[in-house]
């Protein structure tokens, strides 16, 4: 009895589904609506464009990256969906995979696409693709060429010493008050800048067994933090940076020509800076490969992906959104919003079309991009990062010494690993 009725239902559903297909076979989810939670800012006409393409209504919600991170984890803990599609940062993979919070997307992304989006391997845990990278955020240094020229700096810096010399020259000429942009607030941007500088000093944060190797005075991590504090002490970094996130510095300081060098620069931002409507430094900004102690550039990737929480009731249309947002066409379009494509083919097209700004530098940087954690982000990454950025913030305010900070971070790692 039960079986019959279930069968009847199934048949009815299939028939209904087919009827829908017949009506609009390329828009199977027309009329549905989904919510999407991403860091701000995003493409201004995204919702309208997506609805035009798929018939699905899009309710886009944005907040700063740090706020998005909190919202996502709190909602997931509660067993509710933070949104139908959410930001899925590379650093969350360990924790989220362990908790089993996200829908595998292997059926959304074809083999070819996975090939094209090389970074997707970072989100592939035990054969399950938990997110599809949509923004290719590896780090370069962004500079204001005009400031460099005005200060008489001809050669682009390759070593950190040359970088500091250039910054000092710019400051000495009075072109800007604080030539180096570096977030020092207790937010994620302060952590990632330190990771990048640690790479720049030729080292890593952890050894193979994930033991901290940044405590010794001659370690790269230690030198990186000392370097940051020296920049601050020399008046090259704005003391107000202790209250600024990376996005604040990007949007309000660098884009207004108030600083000359973004230490941890997002290459995607180039498109935004080149747009006279969005910035007053159009035509002045360029990317250079990350300056290092040795002069041989290094960088690391901070890929951000799109994922669907298991608790989302709209996985079907949500998958459509991920396909749409990671499509080659949208990626090329989205470049103008400060999002660098994750598809090799989209990057190649932009380069060919001559729209990729500082293409040479990006091409030079791309092969040097390493993952921060070769074995994948550990489950305790959020705790580690919180300890890193609160400690940097304290050192920058002169509250604790660098030694104290390193000890604090290492203690946090030990504590976090215990669980």
């Amino acid at each position: 009895m039960k079986n019959t009725s279930r069968l009847a239902w199934a048949t009815a559903t299939v028939l209904l589904g087919m009827a829908q297909f017949a009506a609009a076979d390329d828009k199977p989810f027309a009329g549905k609506s989904i919510t999407v939670l991403l860091p701000s800012p995003q493409d201004a006409t995204m919702a309208a464009d997506f609805e035009k393409a798929t018939g699905i209504k899009l309710d886009l919600q944005t907040a700063s990256w740090d706020d998005v991170s909190t919202k996502v984890s709190t909602a997931l803990l509660a067993g509710t969906a933070p949104a139908d599609v959410t930001e899925f940062d590379w650093s969350w993979t360990g924790q989220f995979a362990a908790a089993g919070w996200y829908v595998p997307l292997n059926d959304v992304v074809s083999k070819d696409t996975q090939e094209d989006i090389k970074g997707s391997s970072l989100f592939n845990i035990n054969g399950q693709l938990l997110a599809v990278p949509y923004t290719n955020d590896f780090r370069v240094m962004l500079i204001n060429k005009k400031h460099f020229e005005d200060a008489g700096v001809k050669a682009m810096p390759q070593t950190l010493d040359e970088l500091v010399a250039a910054a000092k020259a710019i400051k000495a000429k009075g072109i800007v008050k604080y030539p180096v942009g570096l977030p020092l607030s207790a937010t994620e941007g302060a952590s990632t800048s330190w990771y990048l500088l640690t790479k720049a000093f030729g080292g890593d944060l952890f050894d193979k067994d994930m033991n901290p190797i940044f405590i010794a005075k001659d370690s790269a991590g230690y030198k990186a933090m000392a370097f940051e504090m020296q920049l601050l002490k020399d008046g090259l970094v704005d003391p107000a940076s202790t209250g600024l996130k990376d996005s604040d510095i990007n949007d309000t300081v660098f884009a207004k020509g108030l600083t000359s060098i973004m230490i941890s620069g997002e290459p995607g931002r180039l498109g935004q800076y080149a747009d006279p409507k969005q910035s007053v430094v159009a035509g002045q900004v360029a990317a250079i490969p990350v300056c290092t102690a040795s002069g041989k550039t290094r960088s690391f990737g901070l890929l951000e992906g799109l994922g669907i929480p298991k608790s989302s009731p709209n996985a079907g249309p949500a998958k459509e959104f991920i396909k749409w947002m990671t499509s080659k066409e949208f990626q090329i379009h989205n470049y103008s919003n400060g999002v660098l494509p994750t598809r090799t083919s989209a990057l190649a097209d932009l380069q060919k079309g001559g729209t990729l700004i500082s293409g040479e530098a990006l091409v030079a940087q791309a092969p040097t991009v390493e993952p921060l954690f070769p074995a994948g982000a550990p489950t305790w990454y959020p705790q580690f990062s919180l300890a890193v950025n609160t400690s940097i913030n304290s050192v920058a305010k002169g509250e604790i010494s660098i030694d104290d900070a390193m000890k604090r971070i290492a203690d946090a790692v030990t504590e976090a690993k215990k669980q």
Binding site: A98, A240, L386, T390
Partner: protein, 306 residues
Amino acid sequence: MTQSTLNFGKSGQHGIGGRSDAVLGYLLVMPILLTMAGLVFYPLLSTSWDSLHRVDPLQQGTPFVGLANYTRMFADAEVGRSWSNTFIYVFLAVTLETVFGVTAAALINQVKRGRQWVLAAVVLPWALPAVVSGVIWEWIYAPGPGLLNGSLTAVGFNFEDFVWFNNSTLATLLVTLVHVWRMMPLTIVIVLAAMQSIPSELYEAARMDGSSRLNMFFTITLPLTRGAIAVAMTNATVAAFNLFDEAMVLARNSVETRPILIQIYLEAFRKFHFSYGMALSLVVTLVSLLVSLGYVLRLHKNTRLD
């Protein structure tokens, strides 16, 4: 439901009295009891119980760990710092609110015309959401276009780009100031009410004796408002232990300004240590109760002496 309860009331009239009154009583308090039982008493018990276990949403099982969550907080430097921050907030806020609140109440008590408007203006900060006060003051403190630096610059000090929050002492003070801005009205209202109830004959008699106004304040006003001041201080203490919103908005996760409540929030919802967070919140509750109890006992003693 209304019909049947109406009948209960009626039958009460007819003499079988007590019992139907009791039933109606229980019916009337039932919504309160259910709400409080479900949302306060049961969670309180489960907090106590869970704080003896390892409850961590990312880990399987909830093994018994005894007092481990409690012993752990003694070695936790961040928790230690948050405690000392909280005590500084409590001390500063209670002192400032009491000294300036009593002064303000005495001033308003002298106002004859338009007192209700002065009072409305003074109470206003209390009525605003604490986070919004935080946002407002963050904008006042902002380096560059902020009102504070702008005003200091306008009167000739070069403070245009001064970053107040880079100094932990200043930062703590500025967070406290926002809290005082919001909570002082409560002190003013409580103390002012007590001042208004002091019979004016007392002052007239003192004036006859040639007492100065200042003298009268210390010999009449203060002693007679002591009870109200203690009540106000208790409220101020509990509120300062609860400080969260202002610090969160003004200095986010910064260790130097982090009160214990933000520490608990971070432990539970950022680091996912639920049971450790529960143990911490129980200890905070206990400490805040003990401090308040201190005032209440003082007050009790004082009123008996009066």
